[in-house]
């Protein structure tokens, strides 16, 4: 599977951006449909569009990187069905996100499990690092945290030419969270330290590298080695902030749930080396693996995370068309 691909994992990752999810006018059709016909109409068109897309081998190859790891025994027809379900899952998240922005927050209900655990960690007054992944719908996850008084800061890199809009952009309102751009001065490191010192929440994605691969360590994930960032754990070590692994998942047409998966306390003074952070990144990877077992079609990964590893599998799914 991945080992035969000469491109680096970084290049493969860059290739997958929201720009690759349809063109601008296609997005506009969905926005119009949402305004006129609501969720049902958008989902109906979505199911047809996704079916068409999944007929394209290039789309199934993108799905295959993850699905072959999650369902190694799947035959060709099952692979096709799984690709459809995964792509449809992503499509529904994008529609839901637009729904909230266009028709209002009442369109989606978010439920936060074990809020007390989160409040207890905040009460330590060292700030809180929320580690998410590309699962479920993080925007909904964040809105479920909206009732908290503590400011929320997101480490987020916006791609140039990104046509995929966030719910607050649909609604024409100011972003309710402070965005820290990792392309800023020193990768936003000082800003991140600053918000944690103020006791605020810092939300980062833990499953994907942003930029420099030097800031990653290799951990086991779904039967192979993947590179995941360790900067959040280093921040935790330096500032004393606890880490909460928090994943969201869709549970119904208009419902999402948000659940703390694991609390990670990184001891202080771990220093400069990257290897000392492997056990903590590994904890995150294990939590994500559990998530993938429970919600296999809500981990939206469409590039080869396992570039350096290999499992026994077809290099590419055979064309069905």
């Amino acid at each position: 599977m991945p080992s035969s691909d000469p491109r680096s994992e970084q290049e493969s990752r860059r290739e997958w951006t929201s720009r690759s999810i349809g063109s601008s006018w296609q997005h506009q059709i969905f926005y119009l449909l949402i305004r006129c016909g609501g969720r049902r109409a958008a989902y109906l068109l979505l199911s047809l569009v996704v079916f068409y897309y999944v007929l394209l081998p290039s789309v199934r190859v993108k799905c295959h990187h993850y699905l072959a790891r999650r369902f190694p025994q799947a035959g060709r027809w099952a692979q096709f069905k799984n690709s459809y379900r995964l792509t449809l899952g992503l499509g529904k998240v994008l529609v839901d996100r637009a729904l909230v922005g266009i028709l209002g927050p009442g369109q989606i209900k978010g439920k936060l499990h074990d809020k007390q655990a989160l409040l207890d960690l905040l009460a330590e007054n060292k700030g809180l690092i929320l580690i998410n992944a590309h699962v479920g719908c993080w925007q909904v996850a964040m809105s479920a945290l909206g009732g908290m008084e503590t400011p929320i800061n997101l480490l987020m890199q916006r791609e140039e030419g990104d046509i995929d809009r966030h719910y607050f952009e649909h609604a024409g309102i100011e972003c309710p969270y402070r965005i820290i751009d990792p392309r800023g001065f020193l990768g936003g490191a000082l800003e991140m330290v600053e918000v944690l010192k103020r006791g605020e929440v810092l939300s980062v994605m833990g499953d994907r590298m942003l930029g420099n691969d030097r800031n990653g360590v290799d951990v086991d994930f779904l039967g192979g080695k993947v590179r995941m960032p360790f900067s959040a754990y280093k921040l935790a070590s330096a500032t004393g902030a606890p880490i909460l692994v928090l994943f969201s998942y869709k549970t119904g047409a208009d419902t999402y749930e948000l659940r703390p998966w694991r609390t990670i306390h990184v001891p202080g003074g771990l220093g400069r080396g990257k290897d000392v952070f492997v056990p903590y990144v590994d904890e995150f990877a294990k939590a994500l693996e559990t998530f993938c077992r429970e919600h296999p079609f809500q981990f939206f990964n469409f590039f080869d995370m396992w570039q350096n590893g290999a499992i026994e599998s077809d290099p590419e799914p055979d064309p069905i068309t």
């Binding site: 001065f185 020193l186 990768g187 936003g188 490191a189 000082l190 800003e191 991140m192 330290v193 600053e194 010192k197 420099n212 030097r214 800031n215 900067s231 280093k234 921040l235 330096a238 500032t239 220093g271 400069r272 080396g273």
Partner: protein
């Protein structure tokens, strides 16, 4: 020991800068990128080091950006806060 000298010593010790002696670090050497070769994650460690060894807090970007350029700028920042 001057602030600059102490700074060079604690940087080498706490950041485990191998094969670097305090004398080799010039006052105007850039801390990040070319120069001392620190990266963005080292900035996190640097903020902690300054607080731990000098009792000086780099509170925000406004303070941090000009201070975290060279040994000289960082030492000047520390001296001003200690004055």
């Amino acid at each position: 020991m001057s602030v600059k000298e102490k700074l060079k010593r604690v940087l080498i010790e706490d950041l485990n800068l191998e094969d670097v002696e305090p004398d080799e670090i010039t006052d105007d050497m850039a801390l990040f990128g070319d120069g001392l070769g620190l990266d963005s994650l080292d900035a996190v460690e640097l903020v902690v080091i300054v607080q731990k060894h000098f009792g000086v807090e780099i509170k925000d970007m406004e303070e941090g950006r000009p201070a975290l350029q060279t040994i000289s700028t960082l030492a000047k920042f520390i001296e001003e806060r200690l004055a």
